[in-house]
């Protein structure tokens, strides 16, 4: 099967790249090996949150001081602002209602009540632009009875430390009570599926409205809308105070929704999305990749002019560490990683871990290499790239979005 571009990986970076290409008329096939790490995302994108443990307030200004090998430096510090605008617009076009500005970070509130820097946050989520000017004085924190994937008391405590007054209320509805009968499935996604009908939402709104007292904002866990914004929009109109959501522990409802909306948008643009398949082998001819063989399509490989590697980090198996080495499993591409296993990790769990900066080696145009030789039509994007640290630098989603767009521009201008 031939399309213009084949993208290996169907998460944030793969879909963003696919959408950018499909919008410009390309025929694109995405091979997605299972659901992506967006399902661990609470509804925010980060451009740059931290450098060496110091929080970054103005990411655009700070990017120039990143080390050479950082993906942002590769695509050019001067291009970041325009790519960031384009990324935000792409998310909005997909129906993902994000707010935020690349020039200055805002704060998102984590499930544990910690304020963390972010670039874009879903408009439904609690967001703080200025810690000295909180968006509300008194919060009604509505806790779902028996739902343990929101650490309520930590959240309440964190919100108080941020300066909010917090009233914690516990509630249940028929749907929630019924779900609690399952000892294992009281999860955010299960709630979202059961709380999507108008009746179910009205029962929640009734509880919220009767309990919220004199709070000037209502907080609920983010358990509304696995695939679209309808549930939140309906509920918002039923609740008679401003309503904001707070991320839960994963799998995340907001993340599932972002993934679903991006995929839907991509498919609307005519893209092929091969869910549950994975690239297993690539065939090189000279300095070009000609085909990708997938696990499911078997002896009918995918052909294309351009290929994009968006297979993610270790979690997504875009990188593999075994007893002896770190490698890229599809093509055996060159990777930036320490040879000695002792160097991969450090003792303290919260210390920066070397492995989280590992990834494939690329040149300034994001082209990959094998045994030192650059592959002309294979670019890498997102978490499979080396030189950044999603956990410690707060740059993972930004790298995914921006490198995806940069690669798409590169592919389109090659022609």
């Amino acid at each position: 099967m031939r399309t213009d571009t084949v993208i290996m990986g169907g998460g944030l970076s793969g879909l963003t790249c696919g959408i950018a290409l499909a919008k410009r008329g390309q025929r694109v096939t995405i091979v997605a090996s299972g659901q992506s790490t967006l399902l661990f995302n609470g509804g925010s994108m980060e451009l740059l949150g931290n450098i060496d443990g110091t929080p970054v307030t103005y990411p655009l200004e700070t990017i120039a001081s990143l080390p050479e090998g950082h993906p942002y430096r590769k695509i050019g510090a001067d291009r970041i602002a325009s790519l960031a605008d384009e990324a935000k617009q792409l998310l909005l076009d997909a129906g993902i209602n994000v707010e935020g500005d690349a020039a200055a970070n805002h704060w998102r509130v984590t499930p544990m009540g910690v304020a963390k820097h972010a670039w874009l946050t879903l408009s439904e989520n609690l967001r703080i632009d200025d810690l000295k000017q909180l968006p509300a004085r008194r919060l009604a924190l509505m806790c779902i009875r028996g739902f343990f994937d929101e650490p309520n008391s930590m959240l309440a405590n964190g919100l108080k430390e941020l300066g909010f007054e917090v009233d914690k209320h516990e509630f249940t509805t028929d749907e929630i009570t019924k779900l609690r009968r399952s000892p294992s499935e009281m999860r955010a996604a299960s709630l979202a599926k059961r709380l999507s009908s108008n009746n179910a939402l009205q029962r929640i709104a009734d509880q919220v409205n009767s309990l919220a007292g004199d709070a000037d904002m209502v907080l609920l866990p983010s358990v509304f809308g696995m695939s679209d914004n309808d549930s939140y929009d309906i509920l918002k109109n039923m609740v008679n105070k401003p309503l904001r959501l707070v991320a839960t522990l994963p799998p995340s409802v907001a993340g599932s929704r972002m993934q679903a909306m991006l995929r839907h948008y991509f498919m609307m643009l005519g893209g092929n999305y091969l869910m549950g398949d994975s690239a297993v082998k690539g065939t090189l001819e000279g300095d070009r990749l000609t085909t990708i063989t997938t696990a499911k399509l078997g002896d009918m490989p995918l052909r294309a002019d351009n290929f994009v590697l968006a297979t993610g980090s270790f979690i997504s198996r875009g990188l593999v560490a075994d007893y002896e080495r770190v490698y890229e499993p599809v093509m055996g591409l060159d990777v930036d990683a320490d040879k000695d296993r002792e160097q991969w990790t450090r003792f303290g769990v919260l210390e920066p871990q070397a492995y989280s900066r590992y990834g494939v080696t690329t040149d300034a145009t994001l082209r990959c290499a094998k045994q030192g030789k650059t592959i002309a039509n294979l670019r890498a994007i997102g978490s499979v790239l080396s030189g950044h640290d999603t956990v410690k630098m707060g740059d993972g989603t930004g790298v995914s979005l921006l490198t995806a767009l940069a690669a798409a521009h590169g592919i389109l201008s090659d022609k």
């Binding site: 790490t37 661990f40 995302n41 609470g42 984590t110 499930p111 544990m112 009540g113 910690v114 304020a115 963390k116 009875r145 028996g146 343990f148 994937d149 650490p151 309520n152 008391s153 930590m154 309440a156 405590n157 964190g158 430390e161 009570t177 609690r180 009968r181 000892p183 294992s184 009281m186 991320a247 522990l249 994963p250 995340s252 980090s313 270790f314 979690i315 198996r317 593999v320 560490a321 075994d322 007893y323 296993r341 002792e342 991969w344 990790t345 003792f347 303290g348 769990v349 919260l350 871990q353 492995y355 989280s356 999603t390 956990v391 410690k392 707060g394 993972g396």
Partner: protein
């Protein structure tokens, strides 16, 4: 009893050390009517008790080299099957001979077993492959012996529970800073409460030093010298069971020659290295140890080569130099009970050490006999006949579970035996699973917090297996931390505790952090640091505490 009341009491006996031996001694003393206190500087079973194979030796391993230990083992083995049913899984074991081993040793081995009273049946290699499919198919000989698996955490807790049921008091996180001395007589212990920061003296007529490798220091406080020779052993835990039976190598004991199925996992070990006494608190496993364990382990069960390793850990065995040769060249692996009155002229002080987790009850009996002799108590020892709480006659256990029970209930019965009946399960919240890998419910956590002295998540893990599954506490640790925060009414402490717990889990994962275990670690970091900002919460706390 509240802690402050304990401080005011005077005891017949104070036991130092909350491992299996200390707990067993506390139980025995309490059953004989002594007013008993046990103190432990960390959590119960943090020392060698919780850092071994979880193997209930038949004694076969010692049959050739140490027939006395072998006899003790088989006798205790049979006793524990009766009194600690809910801590024991009767797996049986194999001693296999591989092509590179000397098959003649098998004969020596079987004869030695028979002398020690251990049933040892030579079976055909084909039969061995059939009853234990994971065994190295190249084996040329096999002997079936009555090894079993035992959970040392459960065993220790059951002893403590019974001690308390019979009037004993127990304190964890109380470190012995010194002994209360009156000339040549020990009259109590000076304690530091690590949770509250208090310093206290508690009086007792006899003090029993059951502090394992740390007992050398306790003895020094009384002016007595014991030469301990710490022997460090490292082990690896695999993500699930590959074997149903214990698999041993039929040769002279060496590195990594025992593979034990423990609950949902299996454990290979151990290495054996003499280490300086100053390093006994550093239990980090080295890369070399991992390599030895894997390379030797696959000789027992080849599938270990492709089975995920979820954790590495190490323990220190308290070996004691015999008194007539303090050089350490002749070390006894047997039980050592020292009455310091006779040995060092210190009254009211007894050390019980050496031995094995396996023979804890016998050690406790010997120590209690010594205590009773000093106090003039003539009550007989009944610990070999009276079942531990959870293992009473008629109590449900793992093998006779029926479909009536939910997953969580069945897992709890497996862990607590008849005591599982005390776990709340009448409402859907108590039935909710906190740890999905190991089937730990909210009710079980409440039970552990209220009944089993749980101060933090690590304690909770030892009592319930929370976070002991393949993910090493991915989602459950947050759920459990929230619950503890609510039950202890201290959210900030719960957050710090959560970070400590993840660090403790990481300590064991790091030496084996490749493959899926590394993926697991990256996902955990993405959730707790990336999504939740736990690192920031903890460092903010640190900053505030400094101010």
């Amino acid at each position: 009893m509240v802690t402050s009341d304990i401080y005011k009491n005077e005891y017949d006996v104070i036991i130092v050390g909350g491992g299996a031996t200390g707990a067993g001694t506390a139980r025995d003393c309490a059953l004989r009517g002594l007013k008993t206190l046990l103190v432990e500087r960390n959590d119960y079973s943090t020392g060698a008790t919780g850092r071994n194979h979880g193997l209930m030796h038949s004694g076969a391993r010692y049959a050739v080299t140490d027939s006395e230990s072998a006899s003790e083992c088989i006798s205790e083995n049979m006793t524990l099957r009766r009194i600690a049913r809910h801590c024991v899984e009767e797996t049986d074991g194999l001693f296999i001979t591989l092509p590179e081993d000397d098959l003649d040793y098998q004969k020596t081995f079987v004869e030695a077993c028979q002398r020690a009273g251990i049933r040892a049946d030579i079976i055909d290699p084909a039969e061995a492959r059939s009853i234990e499919p994971s065994v190295n198919p190249d084996l040329i000989g096999a002997v079936r012996i009555p090894d079993a698996a035992i959970d040392p955490f459960r065993l220790t807790v059951a002893n403590l529970l019974d001690a308390r049921l019979h009037g004993a008091d127990t304190l964890n996180y109380h470190e012995v800073e010194g002994l209360v001395m009156n000339q040549n007589r020990v009259e109590g212990v000076k304690l530091f409460n690590k949770l509250s920061g208090e310093h206290i003296e508690v009086r007792g007529r006899v003090v029993v030093n059951a502090a394992g490798i740390w007992g050398q220091r306790i003895a020094q406080m009384a002016g007595a010298n014991i030469s301990m020779f710490p022997a460090r052993g490292a082990l690896l835990i695999f993500g699930h069971r590959v074997n149903k039976m214990v698999i041993n190598r039929c040769r002279k004991p060496a590195n990594a020659d025992i593979l034990v199925p423990d609950d949902t996992v299996c454990v290979i070990g151990t290495t054996s290295d003499r280490i300086p006494i100053e390093t006994v608190d550093d239990m980090r496993v080295t890369r070399e140890e991992v390599d030895v364990l894997l390379n030797e382990g696959i000789k027992l069960a080849p599938s270990l080569a492709t089975t995920r390793v979820i954790r590495a850990y190490a323990g220190v065995r308290p070996l004691v130099a015999s008194d007539d040769d303090p050089s350490g060249r002749s070390i006894s692996r047997g039980i050592v009970c020292l009455d310091h009155a006779k040995r060092d002229g210190v009254e009211g002080f007894i050390t019980i050490t050496g031995g094995k987790m396996m023979t804890y009850r016998l050690m406790a009996e010997i120590a209690t006999n010594a205590v009773c002799a000093k106090l003039g108590n003539t009550a007989p020892c009944v610990t070999a006949n009276q079942p531990l709480p959870g293992s009473e006659e008629g109590a449900p256990n793992q093998s006779d579970m029926t479909k009536r029970y939910s997953f969580g209930e069945r897992a709890a019965i497996g862990r607590h035996g008849s005591l599982a009946a005390r776990i709340e399960k009448d409402n859907d919240i108590d039935n909710a699973l906190v740890c999905e890998c190991e089937g730990v419910t909210v009710g079980e956590i409440k039970y552990a917090v209220h009944q089993l002295h749980v101060h933090n998540l690590v304690n909770l893990r030892r009592r319930t297996r929370v976070g002991m599954g393949t993910c090493q506490g991915k989602l459950c640790s947050c759920r459990a931390a929230s619950l503890l925060g609510e039950l202890h009414h201290d959210v900030r402490r719960a957050q710090k505790d959560l970070a400590d717990f993840l660090d403790e889990r990481w300590k064991g994962m790091r030496p084996v952090a490749w493959g899926d275990t590394l993926r697991e670690a990256q996902l955990t970091a993405a959730i707790y640091e990336g999504l939740c900002g736990l690192d920031m919460a903890v460092s903010n706390q640190g900053k505030e505490d400094k101010q």
